[in-house]
Amino acid sequence: DVKVTQSSRYLVKRTGEKVFLECVQDMDHENMFWYRQDPGLGLRLIYFSYDVKMKEKGDIPEGYSVSREKKERFSLILESASTNQTSMYLCASSPGLLAKNIQYFGAGTRLSVL
């Protein structure tokens, strides 16, 4: 079974802190994604990566950056956390570039910024 592991289930941070969310997948997938999920807004794509060191902006990249130094690991970075970044963050991975690819999700990290 595909496994996508997010390093933390819950995080509480202070405004202005630099925050790292880590995600690791064990299926050698090319693509990895970071979403945030908010009530009434659904899942919104922040960034995705289709290869090591490659990244593409999603729909809401402002205030975030990402890093993919190894194929299995994709990190989301909040450079200076703000209260409006309080949310559930979901990482996903999928194989290849074709439209037939299922996304496999981690369990999520619930981040609270105080």
């Binding site: 807004l41 899942l43 979901l90 996903a92 037939k100 299922i102 996304q103 999520g108």
Partner: protein
């Protein structure tokens, strides 16, 4: 602007009471429509992919169908364990996936 709209937002069913969830979409070039199930505190889990109008997929009490404008997730004789949020996602173009906001289903014994 591409849109994916799911209805209803919430649905409460008695055990055994069949119903349907709707996902309507306006995208320029559909490459696939996905249904996911999400349990509280967990990430979405894949259920079905549909690629062309007229296609149907089934799994246990769930059946997904697709037309040119919408998809339905039919739930036949649901059980309490079917309670979850069901998400629809539309795939178009280069890795662009747009998710709906989901339908929260509650099945009461």
């Amino acid at each position: 602007e591409d849109q994916v709209t799911q209805s209803p937002e919430a649905l409460r069913l008695q055990e055994g009471e069949s119903s349907s969830l709707n996902c309507s979409y306006t995208v320029s070039g559909l490459r696939g429509l996905f249904w996911y199930r999400q349990d509280p505190g967990k990430g979405p889990e894949f259920l079905f992919t549909l690629y062309s109008a007229g296609e149907e997929k089934e799994k246990e009490r769930l059946k997904a169908t697709l037309t040119k404008k919408e998809s339905f997730l039919h739930i036949t004789a649901p059980k309490p364990e079917d309670s979850a949020t069901y998400l629809c996602a539309v795939h178009e173009g280069y890795q662009k996936v747009t998710f709906g906001t989901g339908t929260k289903l509650q099945v009461i014994p």
